[in-house]
């Protein structure tokens, strides 16, 4: 079995922040997960967009806090990466489907290779960034 890296002490590149994604990043400072919600369509979306992908109207959007619980949608093991990740392979990259019905890409931490599976329940794991924000990762939920 491959030993996978949790990338815990890695100085990650800081995510660029857009004017319309600021509420998401501000909430990560307190390790809270906020998603855009279209109150007319009754549906969430991720990643944050300048408008609703459901109705095309930014005025229909609001931010809602969610638990971040979800399940693995699919996963891969990154065996090659660019700096600063080069030399830290292999590590997990996965798509997680939240209970709210959106897919989020993330590294999975604390998960042995034998445990990984599509459908595996996961919960948020907030990795600190150098500027006080946190990066949303996931770990097995139970």
């Amino acid at each position: 079995m491959t030993q996978l890296n949790d990338l815990a002490d890695l100085a990650r590149p800081l995510p660029v922040e857009r004017s319309f994604s600021k509420p998401f990043w501000d909430a990560t400072r307190e390790k809270r997960l906020m998603l855009q919600y279209d109150r007319i369509a009754g549906a969430y979306q991720f990643y944050p967009r300048p408008t609703s992908i459901h109705t095309g109207r930014a005025s229909n959007l609001e931010w809602r806090e969610v638990s971040g619980r979800g399940r693995i949608f699919s996963y891969t093991i990154a065996r090659r990466a660019r700096p600063p990740f080069a030399g830290h392979e292999p590590f997990w990259l996965a798509l997680v489907t939240l209970e709210e019905g959106v897919n989020i890409m993330a590294n999975i931490v604390g998960c042995a290779e034998a445990r990984m599976a599509i459908g595996l329940p996961v919960k948020p794991h907030w990795a600190p960034l150098s500027d006080g924000r946190h990066l949303l990762l996931f770990e097995p939920a139970g």
């Binding site: 990338l7 990650r12 590149p13 800081l14 995510p15 660029v16 922040e17 857009r18 994604s21 549906a43 969430y44 979306q45 991720f46 990643y47 992908i53 459901h54 949608f73 699919s74 996963y75 891969t76 093991i77 990154a78 065996r79 090659r80 990466a81 660019r82 990740f85 830290h88 590590f91 990259l93 996965a94 798509l95 489907t97 019905g101 959106v102 897919n103 989020i104 890409m105 993330a106 590294n107 599509i118 960034l129 990066l135």
Partner: protein, 390 residues
């Protein structure tokens, strides 16, 4: 619009190399000269230019103008197409539309990129915010996620994928313009044993980034006839879909835009997959070929492995596949790479396939794939049927 009123009358292609020591404009000039030689046209008769996106040209928002000036072209119409690997095929459809609309009469479609030697791209995209901080390499990771999902939901026979890789490699051995580094035979076992890049995507699933150029000359069919150019390829069907399911937050990544693009393309051509004589699908990863077979209707969704096992894909087989080796065995000439399989289709329709000439050259189906979006499969799917007779 009458797509079939246009005709491809000449093509040009450079050797594909791991890194070019010639400037991207020198490669472009090479293509222009090949096309003038083969078509009998003078530069003054070319009044339209459509470029495919180029990593080398990225950052210059005047790319088609600048390139036209370097080539000494005076034009009524010029533009760049920026739908990633679908750009070369999309350029042909746009050339036909421009001719039909009277914007131009003869259009040079030029695909040149030296992405390895000189990339100037700084993508303003979701990557900077949502995937770069995770260490994603981009395409291999996207296809790793996609392949794992496919395997879990439909089952996947990796020896079937190996068969595609081996067949394309055999074709590259017959193609002098394919990247030399890749012109070594491989076996099914080599494929299965090749190292993982993003599990379950292997090295031999993946394209090798290279440099190179190609191009086509498109004119009105009547013009071609008047000049006695009987050797031509006529586009008879085209479909293009960008962001299938754009309004859905979670999509099945094994369903692609080729389902709708293909339906439109076949309907326009008045054909079905059973009528297709040769198949030249865009290949960035081997599984993309299989997924396109499913989405374009050669077999049912999820039945790709079985279809591959039952079908012969050599140039002399049931359904000749990427007879120049495809990008995976000829090398991916950056964002111009979509031109490789397109030019091979035209070469075959012209009857100039040499040692790898297909027997039935009535028609060919060519496709494009372009762009890797967040958490889906790919951004643009394109499909075009070309006929040798019209």
């Amino acid at each position: 619009m009458a797509l079939h009123d246009a005709a491809i009358i000449a093509y040009g292609e450079t050797k594909i190399v791991p890194v070019s020591d010639r400037d991207v404009w020198a490669l472009s000039a090479d293509i222009l000269e090949q096309i003038l030689d083969r078509s009998g046209f003078e530069t003054g008769e070319i009044d339209g230019l459509i470029l495919s996106a180029s990593m080398t040209g990225a950052g210059n928002p005047f790319w088609s103008q600048t390139t036209a000036d370097y080539l000494g072209l005076e034009l009524d119409f010029c533009q760049s197409v920026d739908i990633g690997g679908s750009s070369p095929l999309g350029a042909v459809a746009r050339a036909a539309a421009a001719i039909d609309a009277g914007l131009a009469s003869t259009v040079l479609c030029l695909y040149a990129d030296t992405a390895v030697a000189e990339t100037n791209a700084r993508g303003r995209a979701y990557n900077q915010e949502w995937t770069a901080p995770l260490g994603s390499l981009g395409p291999p990771v996207a296809f790793g996620l996609l392949t794992r999902y496919y395997e879990a939901h439909h089952g996947l026979d990796y020896s079937a994928l190996a068969k595609l890789a081996v067949t394309q490699r055999e074709h590259a051995l017959l193609n002098d313009l394919a990247c030399e580094k890749l012109r070594k035979p491989i076996t099914v076992e080599d494929y299965l044993q090749s190292r993982m890049i993003a599990d379950p995507v292997r090295l031999l699933d993946s394209v090798m980034p290279c440099d190179g150029a190609s191009g086509l000359l498109v004119t009105g069919r009547r013009t071609a006839e008047k000049r006695g150019l009987t050797r031509c390829a006529v586009p008879v069907g085209y479909g293009e879909r960008t962001h299938l399911g754009a309004a859905e937050p979670v999509v099945d990544p094994t369903v692609t835009g080729h389902r709708v693009a293909g339906r439109k393309c076949f309907a326009q051509a008045g054909m079905t997959p059973a009528d297709i004589a040769a198949f030249h699908p865009y290949d960035d990863f081997i599984i993309a070929i299989m997924m396109q077979m499913e989405m374009l209707g050669f077999c049912a969704h999820g039945q790709g492995s079985a279809f591959i096992r039952e079908t012969g894909f050599r140039f002399d087989g049931d359904l000749p596949l990427n007879t120049g080796g495809g990008q995976i065995s000829a090398g991916q000439a950056g964002l111009a790479g979509g031109g490789t399989n397109l030019i091979e289709a035209v070469r075959q329709l012209f009857g100039e396939g040499g040692a790898r000439q297909v027997k039935d050259r009535r028609n060919a189906l060519v496709t494009g794939i372009g762009g890797i979006p967040y958490g889906r499969n790919w951004s643009t799917s394109a499909a075009m049927i070309l006929t040798s007779a019209g």
